[in-house]
C-alpha cells in the first residue's frame, strides 16, 4: 500500500541546490525561510509558482501536512527535514514548528498538534532525526526512500518507548510470504529468517532496529551461518 504523497514529486525538487545566504545556521522563527534563502525563487523548483510570505505557513496550504498516520512516503516532509537537520545544518525545529513544551507540537500557521512532547522528548526527537538523516541504520534507509517518522510511527509523535508493530512494516514490505520469498535459501529452505522455527509472527523489530544497528537474531545460536541484514553496524 505504498501511496506516494500526492505532492512528493514537486517536493522532491524543492531545495535542491538551494543557495544559502552565508554560513549554515539556525533560522530565527517567524522569517524562517528568507533568513537563509533571501530569494526564495532561487530555492524553489523552476516551475514552482511564486510564493508569498516566507515561512511554513506559505507552504502548507498546498503541501498539506500528513495527519492521517498512514504508512506512506512523505516527500515534502522528508526533503525539508533532510536539508534542515544535522548534518546538513544545525537546524532549529522552531523555525517551522510551533512548539509549546509539554503542551503542543504543530506547524507555524497551522492549528493542529501532533502531541505534547516534554523537553526530554524533544531532545530525543532531535537525536533520532539526526540518526534518520545520517546513519548506517534502517532509519536512514527509510529517509532515503522518503519515509519520515509518521511513515513508521503513525499518528502522533513517537516517544521513548514507541515500537513499531509488524502490520506497519508489512503495509509496505509485506506480506510476510513475499519477504520469505526474498530471503529463501535455495539449498537449505529451513534457513530462512522470514519463515523460521521461531514462527512467522516474530516481531520484525527482533532483528530490524530503526535507530540502532540491526542484528541477525538467528546468529545468536547459529553462529556459523553467514547472514547479512540492511542497517547493520558498520
Amino acid at each position: 500500500m505504498l501511496k506516494p504523497h500526492f505532492l512528493a514529486i514537486a517536493a522532491a525538487c524543492l531545495l535542491l541546490g538551494a543557495p544559502l545566504a552565508g554560513p549554515a545556521r539556525a533560522a530565527p522563527p517567524g522569517d524562517a525561510c528568507t533568513a537563509c534563502h533571501p530569494d526564495l525563487s532561487k530555492t524553489l523548483p523552476q516551475k514552482h509558482k511564486a510564493v508569498r510570505g516566507n515561512g511554513m505557513a506559505s507552504c502548507t496550504p498546498c503541501h498539506a501536512t500528513g495527519q492521517s498516520g498512514e504508512a506512506e512516503t512523505n516527500g515534502f516532509s522528508t526533503r525539508l527535514h533532510l536539508t534542515h537537520v544535522p548534518p546538513a545544518v544545525k537546524g532549529d525545529c522552531a523555525a517551522c514548528h510551533r512548539i509549546v513544551p509539554g503542551k503542543s507540537f504543530g506547524l507555524i500557521g497551522q492549528p493542529f498538534s501532533w502531541g505534547a512532547p516534554k523537553p526530554a522528548d524533544l531532545k530525543l526527537l532531535k537525536e533520532e532525526f539526526a540518526s534518520w538523516a545520517n546513519s548506517d541504520f534502517t532509519d536512514h534507509l527509510h529517509a532515503k526512500a522518503s519515509v519520515d517518522c509518521a511513515g513508521c510511527h503513525g499518528k502522533g509523535l513517537p516517544t521513548s518507548d514507541s515500537t513499531v508493530e509488524n502490520d506497519r512494516c508489512l503495509a509496505c514490505h509485506g506480506p510476510i510470504e513475499k519477504l520469505a520469498g526474498k530471503t529463501r535459501n535455495v539449498e537449505f529452505p529451513k534457513r530462512n529468517p522470514h519463515s523460521s522455527h521461531l514462527g512467522d509472527d516474530i516481531a520484525c523489530t527482533t532483528c530490524h532496529h530503526a535507530h540502532a544497528a540491526s542484528v541477525v537474531y538467528c546468529a545468536d545460536c547459529h553462529r556459523l551461518w553467514k547472514m547479512s541484514i540492511p542497517g547493520a553496524a558498520k
Binding site: 518507548d161 515500537t163 537449505f188 516474530i202 516481531a203 537474531y217 545460536c221
Partner: protein
C-alpha cells in the same frame, strides 16, 4: 515449616531487634520483619499496572501457568524479556516422556508395560535419589495428562512411536511431529490465547517486591524494564516465576560447578541467565542443588547447538545405536544416563572431541526419526552416510580396522543378548547394526539443563530459607530445583514444566 521452627525464628527476630536497640546499629534488613525493606531497595510508592497474577517467562511452564490462571478468571499478564516468546521450550527437541493412557504407541509396537509408578522410580533413580520424592511424583502422575492437554486442547501432533531413552526403564518417550518443542509451545500458546493471554515481549523483570522476610509478608509485585521505561507491576494474587535455567550464565554456573567454564558450549537460548533466581533469593527464597547442571552429551561439537539431528543419538539407544570414539572404540553403555555419557566423553580428554553415534537405516523410523530431517542433515553435512562400515570409517576419519572390529563385536553382543564390555541391557526392540546404509553423526557435551533451582513444595509455592512458603510467590519449570536430583532423564523436562506450570497457575487463583 513446623511451629517449632517458626517460634525459633521469632526468637531470632527478637534477638536481632534487641541487638538493634542495644547497639543502635542496623541488623540485616531481611531479618527485621515489618521494619525494613528487602535489601536496600525502597518499595515503590505507586504501581504502574495492577494484575491478579504476574507470570514471568513464556516457555512451557509460564504458558501453562498463565493459561490456568487466566482460564480460572484471574487478570493475568505473561512477561517475557526476549523479543521472541518460548525460551528454551520453543527450541527444544520435542521429546516428551509420559506413561500413556490414550495414544497407545507402546502397546501398538509391543514395547512392554509402563506406569506412573515406574516413571516415578526412574526419575528418583536417575537422579541418584537426590530428588524430592513428592515433587517427582507430581511429574510422573501428571505427565500423561499434560501430554493429552497439549494434543487434545492445543492441537500438538506426535510421531507414531515411542522410544526408550537413557535412564528410562520403559519405552515412554514421545516425539513431536515437527521434531521441536515448538509443537507444544504453539499448542500452549493457543490454549493460553483462548484464555485471553498473549505474551508481552521485551519486558524484563528486574526485581521482585516484598517488604521483608516475615513468613506472613507476601510478595507485592515486580519491577520491569520495557524499552527504556522502568515500571512497577502490582500482583494482587500471585507472582509466578517461570524464567527457566541459568546454563548461559557462565559466571553463575561455574560458581556452583567450577568445571563448567566458558570452555563448554551451551545448548540454551541466550536468555537462560538466571537473574530471577537471585531476585527470589534476595527476598528470602531458598535454593537447592544448584551445582547439579546437566551436559547434553550429543550437541553439535563446534557450536553446542542442539538441532533436530542432535536428538538422534539420544533417541537411538533403545533401538541399538552405537557410540564410538574417534579411534573407533566404544566408551560407554549407550543406554546410560546423560551425566554418565557426557563425563565418559570428557574423561577421554579434550583431544577426544568429537565422538560419534552410528546407526543404520532400519533404526531411523523406530527411533522417532524423519526421512526429511535425515536428508536435510546429510545435505548440511551433519549426518554422514555410507553403504558399508568401511566406507563410513573412511568418511569420518575413524581407523577402519578399529571401527569394523567394534561393529562386529557389537553385532555379536546383540545376537548373544549380552554386552560383556559395558553391560548394556539388550532388549528385543534393538536392531543389529548389520545392514546398511549406515549413518554417523559427531557429538560432544554442552551445558544444557539446571537440575537445581528455587525450592518449591508440591503446590508450586516458593519456600523461604527458614522453610515457610513465601505468600503469593510460586515457581515452575527449570527455575525450580529438586525434581530431578543429580541428573534429569532426557524428555522429563517437558512434563515437569507443564505439570508444575499448571499447578502454580491453579494455586495462584487461591492465593
Amino acid at each position: 515449616m513446623s511451629n517449632k521452627d517458626l517460634s525459633r525464628r521469632s526468637v531470632l527476630k527478637s534477638v536481632a531487634l534487641g541487638a538493634v536497640a542495644l547497639s543502635g546499629g542496623t541488623a540485616l534488613n531481611m531479618a527485621v520483619p515489618g521494619t525494613a525493606q528487602a535489601l536496600v531497595r525502597k518499595l515503590p510508592t505507586q504501581w504502574d499496572e495492577t494484575w491478579d497474577v504476574i507470570v514471568i517467562g513464556s516457555g512451557f511452564a509460564g504458558l501453562a501457568a498463565a493459561a490456568e490462571a487466566a482460564g480460572g478468571g484471574a487478570k493475568t499478564t505473561l512477561l517475557e524479556k526476549m523479543p521472541t516468546y518460548g525460551g528454551n521450550s520453543i527450541i527444544n527437541g520435542g521429546v516428551f516422556a509420559a506413561w500413556d493412557d490414550k495414544w497407545h504407541y507402546r502397546e501398538k509396537l509391543n514395547l512392554g508395560a509402563d506406569s506412573p509408578a515406574q516413571h516415578w522410580q526412574d526419575i528418583l533413580k536417575g537422579g541418584d535419589y537426590y530428588s524430592i520424592p513428592e515433587l517427582a511424583k507430581e511429574v510422573a502422575d501428571g505427565a500423561a495428562d499434560a501430554l493429552n492437554w497439549v494434543v487434545e486442547d492445543g492441537g500438538a501432533e506426535l510421531r507414531p512411536t515411542v522410544t526408550r531413552a537413557g535412564g528410562h526403564t520403559a519405552y515412554r518417550t514421545h516425539a513431536a511431529k515437527s521434531g521441536v518443542g515448538r509443537e507444544y509451545t504453539e499448542a500452549l500458546r493457543k490454549i493460553a490465547a483462548k484464555a485471553g493471554i498473549k505474551p508481552t515481549l521485551n519486558s524484563e523483570v528486574t526485581w521482585i517486591w516484598r517488604a521483608d522476610a516475615d513468613p506472613k509478608s507476601a510478595v507485592l509485585g515486580v519491577e520491569i524494564k520495557r524499552g527504556k521505561k522502568v515500571l512497577n507491576l502490582r500482583a494482587n494474587k500471585a507472582v509466578i516465576l517461570a524464567s527457566g535455567g541459568f546454563s548461559q550464565n557462565v559466571e553463575m554456573r561455574s560458581a556452583h560447578n567450577p568445571r563448567l567454564t566458558a570452555e563448554y558450549n551451551c545448548t540454551n537460548h541466550k536468555g537462560a541467565t538466571g537473574e530471577i533466581h537471585k531476585f527470589a533469593q534476595a527476598v528470602g527464597a531458598d535454593t537447592l542443588q544448584m551445582n547439579f547442571i546437566q551436559l547434553y552429551p550429543y550437541a553439535e561439537p563446534e557450536t553446542g547447538l542442539l538441532d533436530a539431528q542432535a536428538v538422534y543419538p539420544f533417541n537411538g539407544p533403545g533401538y541399538g545405536i552405537l557410540y564410538v570414539t574417534k579411534q573407533g572404540k566404544r566408551f560407554v553403555n549407550e543406554l546410560e544416563r546423560r551425566d554418565v555419557v557426557a563425563y565418559a566423553q570428557i574423561n577421554l580428554g579434550k583431544d577426544a572431541k568429537p565422538t560419534w553415534s552410528i546407526f543404520n537405516e532400519a533404526m531411523i523410523l523406530p527411533m522417532g526419526g524423519d526421512p526429511e530431517e535425515v536428508a536435510e542433515g546429510l545435505k548440511r553435512g551433519r549426518f554422514i552416510k555410507a553403504e558399508s562400515i568401511t566406507e563410513l570409517a573412511g568418511k569420518c576419519n575413524i581407523p577402519t580396522d578399529a571401527l569394523v572390529d567394534t561393529v562386529n563385536k557389537y553385532i555379536q553382543y546383540h545376537k548373544d543378548g549380552k554386552d560383556p564390555e559395558f553391560n548394556k541391557p539388550i532388549t528385543p526392540a534393538m536392531i543389529t547394526l548389520e545392514k546398511g546404509p549406515f549413518y554417523a553423526i559427531p557429538q560432544w557435551p554442552a551445558v544444557h539443563f539446571c537440575m537445581g533451582g528455587l525450592r518449591i513444595n508440591a503446590s508450586g509455592q516458593v519456600i523461604d530459607v527458614f522453610g515457610s512458603p513465601i505468600p503469593k510467590l510460586f515457581a515452575a519449570g527449570e527455575v525450580t530445583g529438586g525434581i530431578h536430583g543429580s541428573n534429569r532423564l532426557g524428555s522429563n523436562a517437558i512434563p515437569t514444566c507443564i505439570v508444575f506450570g499448571r499447578i502454580a497457575g491453579r494455586n495462584a487463583l487461591k492465593a
